[in-house]
């Protein structure tokens, strides 16, 4: 089965603290922080968007894959904040990294799991022999309406995965998806900010699909939580992630390295790809990783990944996820509002 040949991450350096947002809206920062398990979130600069984030992540992935970009047969960018409604982000990325013109490219959208949907698409094409290598990226500059609870978490970041059969650093054992039509979170054409179903986004949406995919994955692989070295999940906030991990029977030692939301917020399509890149940065040969993404609308993709010996050769070939998380500059709400385009100019 296909595996990961190279991976790369990127998180914008600007941060805004929960306290700063709460101050503007008259919320109690402590109860928000404790309730959501989020301290601060990343903010894209004015000149950063899903395309720039995806390009940086892709370049980092290429450094670790150590392949000629011309060998890429597919580029998929999963996001819910593609800069253009019509015109792909994937072509911008493919051109920027020198992968054009002999390849296929497309944008994907499935709320927060478009990145893992892209990984599955590339896995299929590699396993079928249609292509040798493909690149799947999950990246977002997500939106939260001013004053909405989402504003405390909606952030920016992404990671890319080059998938192939040769020279892998980690190999997929299997993938399993769990999908229904569940309208917990959506944004219609032309709307600047998404709508969400409040508490409906919990049990009938996130948990139902995450647990559904996890159960399917355990059954399909005949495995149990203690068989894994790491477990990581989609993380709209820290609370959902920790509750899901604990309920499935994983220990903090297994799930803590995948939990990035408290320090960078919810990077939407970038969330599970970034969680995985952070784990791969630390992983040892032989480690087994349990992965469940979640996208509103709704569905979860599950993966079991086995790390192999080549991981140690590539970890230092590009900046690590933690490097990006640690490299931070705080902005206040006014600058954040300007960077996020929340100030309407005439």
């Amino acid at each position: 089965m296909a595996g990961i040949v190279g991976y790369g991450a990127y998180v914008p350096s600007y941060r805004i603290k929960v306290e700063e947002i709460a101050k503007v809206w008259g919320d109690d920062p402590e109860s928000i922080s404790n309730g959501l398990v989020v301290n601060e979130k990343s903010v894209p600069a004015s000149d950063e968007d899903t395309a720039t984030i995806a390009v940086t992540a892709a370049r980092n992935a290429l450094k670790r894959a150590e392949i000629d970009p011309q060998k890429l047969g597919a580029v998929y960018v999963g996001s819910e904040s593609h800069p253009y409604a019509v015109k792909p982000t994937a072509t911008i990325v493919a051109e920027a990294i020198g992968a054009t013109p002999e390849l296929t490219a497309a944008d994907l959208e499935f709320a927060c799991k478009a990145g893992t949907a892209g990984i599955q698409a590339v896995m299929g094409e590699v396993d079928s022999g249609m292509i040798d290598y493909g690149l799947a990226i999950g990246a977002d500059t997500s939106q939260g309406a001013p004053g909405d609870a989402l504003e405390y978490t909606a952030s920016a970041g992404g990671a890319g995965y080059i998938i192939g059969k040769k020279n892998t650093i980690a190999d997929f054992e299997t993938t399993y998806s769990f999908t229904t039509d569940t309208p917990d979170f959506y944004r219609r054409e032309g709307q600047p900010y998404p709508s969400h179903g409040g508490r409906f986004t919990g049990d009938p949406a996130y948990y139902k699909h995450v647990f559904g995919a996890a159960k399917g994955l355990f059954e399909k692989t005949e495995s149990k939580p203690e068989d894994y070295d790491y477990a990581l999940f989609h993380q709209p906030n820290g609370k959902f992630y920790i509750r899901a991990a604990r309920k499935l029977g994983f220990t903090p030692e297994q799930y803590k390295y995948g939990l990035l939301t408290p320090n960078i917020g919810n990077t939407y399509s970038g969330a599970v790809p970034l969680a995985l890149s952070n784990v791969l940065d630390k992983a040892e040969p032989g480690d087994k990783i349990f992965i469940i993404s979640y996208g509103s609308g709704a569905g979860s993709d599950g993966f079991v990944l086995n790390v192999n010996d080549r991981i140690k050769e590539v970890q230092d070939l590009a900046p690590k996820t933690q490097d990006y998380i640690d490299d931070k500059n705080y902005v206040d709400y006014a600058v954040y509002a300007k960077y996020k385009g929340k100030i309407r100019m005439a």
């Binding site: 109690d28 109860s31 309730g35 969400h196 179903g197 409040g198 508490r199 409906f200 049990d203 009938p204």
Partner: protein, 384 residues
């Protein structure tokens, strides 16, 4: 006037019932009560359904027709009754009056609310206050009850911990109620440290947003034993109106509607408050549970916090209150609450309440409030 008995009861689980629609909730409760009573559909003379705001919560009015139709009970006359959070007990009262008058023999009184189809229930709930003088000025129900709480603390030295105890006791009882929304214990610390909603009230002082339905079957007392060995008799049904707006009250810390309705009910039933073995009160916010203890006459005004703190309202206390978990922990699907309270008292008087059973309960009472007390109802039930 004829005496009236309850011969069947049913309540759905209360909670965030994402997979159950408005019509399914009321059908489940209605059919459950019919089954519990042993009557058949053809026996039903009329139905009254309490519901506060199906229009705002699920975009559906004309629910009387929807309900009789969906339950397969056409052409039984069905009537919706509305008095905000007291809608359920008003439907019960309409049913009782109808049977007592001799107009119909078998009547179903039910209540239903589906609140979780909207993201924020607060604006819909706020329509139970005075729109022009309260809601449009920014007052919400938590803030109105917070003002009552603050005044009670100022007038009588009631403490934050005493208010929290109302929620703590409710949660304790709810762990034994399989239909409760929150069947688990909480501590005073948990109440005090939960998110602030409207000072001094925190999240754990407030009843939740809930879906649910409940129903009871009424018949003339003289016929009750044809259907059941354990009929529960309606000994009093009383209702009183008061000012809808809080600022028009002589005393912010007294719900006149509760006081007057309970006095009428005690007279009607020929009992005093000392005769009541078990009570379900309307604790939409912890402060309202405390006011009820005073306004129903269990203790004098100002002493509510103390008797609650002393454990007198616990299951083994002098006057057990809310064995079901109350609005706080059983849940509060607005229109269903008054009927769910009656269901709980029926189970208590039948001796069917399991681990939350109040030993030897012979006489029980329900207390249901609309808004901040614009409507108050008190019902008294007995085994004889």
């Amino acid at each position: 006037m004829r005496d009236v008995a309850i011969i069947g009861v049913a309540q759905t689980k209360f909670g965030e019932l994402w997979d159950t629609s408005f019509r399914q909730l009321i059908a489940d409760a209605g059919l459950g009560a019919i089954k519990d009573s042993g009557i058949s559909g053809e026996d039903i003379g009329a139905m009254y359904v309490g519901n506060m705001s199906s229009g705002l919560f699920v975009n559906q009015e004309h629910i009387a027709s929807l309900i009789s139709d969906h339950m397969g009970l056409n052409p039984v006359p069905c009537t919706r009754v509305e008095a905000a959070c007291a809608s359920g007990s008003l439907a019960l009262r309409q049913g009782i009056i109808t049977v007592a008058s001799g107009y119909h023999d078998i009547v179903i009184a039910a209540g239903v609310e589906k609140m979780t189809d909207v993201v924020d229930a607060t604006p819909a709930i706020a329509t139970a206050s005075d729109q022009e003088w309260e809601a449009q000025q920014g007052a919400t129900f938590p803030s109105l009850y917070a003002m009552i709480a603050r005044r009670h603390m100022y007038e009588y030295g009631t403490t934050r911990e005493q208010l929290a105890e109302v929620s703590v006791i409710n949660h304790h009882n709810a762990q034994y109620n399989p239909n409760a929304q929150f069947p688990f214990e909480i501590s005073v610390d948990k109440v005090l440290n939960s998110s602030k909603v409207a000072d001094p009230l925190t999240l754990m002082d407030c009843s939740p947003v809930s879906d649910g339905a409940a129903a009871v079957v009424l018949c003339p007392a003289e016929d009750a034993r044809k259907y059941t060995d354990t009929p529960i008799y309606v000994k009093a049904s009383a209702q009183a109106s008061s000012t809808i707006a809080l600022h028009d009250r002589k005393d912010m810390t007294t719900l006149d509607a509760t006081k007057i309705a309970s006095k009428k009910a005690y007279d009607m039933a020929g009992v005093t408050v000392k005769d009541i073995d078990v009570t379900e009160v309307h604790d939409c916010f912890s402060i309202n549970g405390l006011l009820a203890v005073e306004d129903l006459g269990f203790t004098e005004k100002g002493n509510g916090g103390k008797v609650i703190e002393d454990g007198q309202t616990r299951l083994d206390g002098d006057f057990p209150i809310n064995p079901s978990g109350g609005l706080k922990a059983r849940g509060h699907p607005l229109g269903a609450t008054g009927i769910a309270q009656a269901c709980e008292i029926v189970w208590q008087l039948r001796g069917d309440a399991g681990k939350r059973q109040v030993d030897g309960a012979e006489i029980g009472m329900t207390h249901n409030v609309g808004g901040t007390g614009g409507t108050g109802t008190v019902h008294i039930f007995g085994r004889e």
